[in-house]
């Protein structure tokens, strides 16, 4: 295991934010994706979608200004931006499952080289687990970007040949942004697009169960121009 520095969660979120374009309608899930809205360039407007019925969700509410009838999917009081709308949970999932959102970003436990995705349950953990909106959002995503650590806390690879954790959805992931790499899911397998500063493709491969496809020189992970 290399002890070179990896990207922080904020740096992973900042890289993921580069995937967003002016006017995009975007669902952000739990984990690192929840940080992505902090890194959207100020010159573009992104309409964030929340599964409990918001399109056009703004930043968290300031202390003292919370309205507990306006919460995000993590149950935190939030604000809305001009152009926002409220609707029921069924309409919120219609948007996600019906492919009406431009991009969805979810946290992940495992992504397989065929795009299979697991993010809702670690086998052997206590309690009921819970699916929430993840299956609807992953299944219907026009473009699903998974943001996660490259390996587990114990060092086990999360980019795998076949998922061994309970699946969220089949063949749904388009791109994975980790603290070591940016990887695309292609019909041939994982294509390595970018690596963390100071890391070589070979070193990132050592932390990955599935084999990468490497085409030419792999650039460093892009940074925000700001």
């Amino acid at each position: 295991m290399s002890s070179k520095p990896k990207l922080t969660r904020e740096q992973v979120a900042a890289r993921a934010a580069l995937e967003l374009h002016d006017g995009d309608c975007v669902n952000l899930g739990w984990g690192i994706p929840n940080l992505v809205s902090n890194f959207v360039p100020s010159e573009i407007t992104v309409f964030f979608h929340s599964e409990n019925g918001i399109l056009g969700m703004g930043p968290r509410a300031k202390a003292g200004e919370e309205d507990y009838d306006v919460v995000d999917a993590m149950k935190v009081p939030v604000t809305v931006i001009p152009g926002a709308s409220y609707f029921d949970q069924g309409t919120a999932h219609l948007m996600a499952r019906g492919g009406h959102l431009d991009v969805s970003m979810l946290g992940g436990l495992q992504v397989a080289e065929n795009g299979d995705f697991a993010n809702w349950k670690i086998p052997g953990t206590k309690g009921s687990g819970g699916i929430g909106g993840a299956m609807d959002i992953a299944t219907g995503a026009r473009r699903l970007i998974v943001c996660m650590e490259h390996v587990t806390k114990e060092g086990a690879p999360k980019l795998v040949r076949r998922c061994t954790y309970p699946l969220t959805a089949l063949a749904c992931v388009h791109r994975v942004v980790t603290d070591l790499a940016v990887v695309d899911v292609t019909p041939e397998g994982f294509l390595l697009q970018e690596v963390a500063p100071g890391w070589t493709p070979q070193e990132v491969q050592q932390h990955t169960e599935a084999r990468f496809i490497v085409r030419g020189d792999v650039p460093e992970i892009k940074r925000s121009g700001r």
Partner: protein, 227 residues
């Protein structure tokens, strides 16, 4: 005309029998019919089936019903790590759980209200959710069959009702409430305010009165969830 307005939350839930199947609206601390839930707990019906997104937070929301052993069976999307009383019962094997993807939960409820006898969706294909369910391939895509989900009662929360039962909701406190309202034999709504018929703009009505059977005014309770 049938009088739908009840004077107390206790009167509104007095006839809920043990073994009843009940929808509970609410998500993320917003839009929970907390006054009705607490009245149901006082009433004491047991052996209930709860159809809900999540299973409470500590004693809050549905938590009190699990704490007092009122619920035997749950159909939910995300019971939740803060649903302490539910999780204890679940771990002890004292409660049954069917996990349903959240959007599919919405559509199964809507289907029950709409006279639709089920539908196919790609959600859940190849996952644990599909176990025991019929699968079909449409346009090369694997799909799973989902049956409708009805209940005897819906406990919902709205912002305002008129005396007929036309409802409007407030912001994200809408969530599951209008969906559940259409799919129960008896829909009971707690509202912040009851206004005269004709004072809600017809363009603004979210749940038309035909879906609402009992109305009770109660000051909303927010169980503030610490993330």
């Amino acid at each position: 005309m049938k009088q739908k307005l009840y004077q107390t939350v206790d009167a509104a839930v007095a006839d809920v029998p043990s073994g009843a199947r009940i929808f509970f609206g609410g998500f993320g601390g917003a839009g929970f019919p907390n006054n009705l839930i607490q009245a149901l707990d006082r009433q004491g019906a047991s052996g209930l089936t709860a159809i809900t997104n999540n299973c409470g937070s500590g004693d809050g929301e549905l938590g009190i019903l699990f704490k007092h052993g009122r619920i035997r069976s749950v159909i939910a999307s995300f019971p939740g790590p803060h649903a302490r009383h539910f999780q204890e019962l679940y771990t002890a094997g004292k409660i049954s759980l069917e996990l349903v993807p959240q959007g599919i939960l919405c559509e199964r409820i809507r289907a029950a209200g709409a006279g639709i006898y089920g539908f196919y969706a790609a959600v859940g294909a190849g996952t644990a959710v599909a176990e025991g369910r019929e699968e079909r391939v449409f346009g090369g895509r694997r799909t799973v069959f989902y049956e409708p989900l009805a209940a005897e009662f819906a406990f919902i929360k709205a912002w305002k009702a008129d005396e007929l039962g036309n409802l409007i909701y407030r912001k994200t406190a809408r969530n599951f409430n209008p969906l559940m309202a259409v799919a129960a034999k008896t829909t009971i709504v707690e509202v912040e305010e009851v206004v005269p018929v004709g004072s809600i703009d017809p363009e603004a009505v979210v749940t038309p009165f035909v879906f609402v059977h009992r109305i009770v005014r109660a000051k909303g309770i927010h169980n503030v969830v610490k993330a």
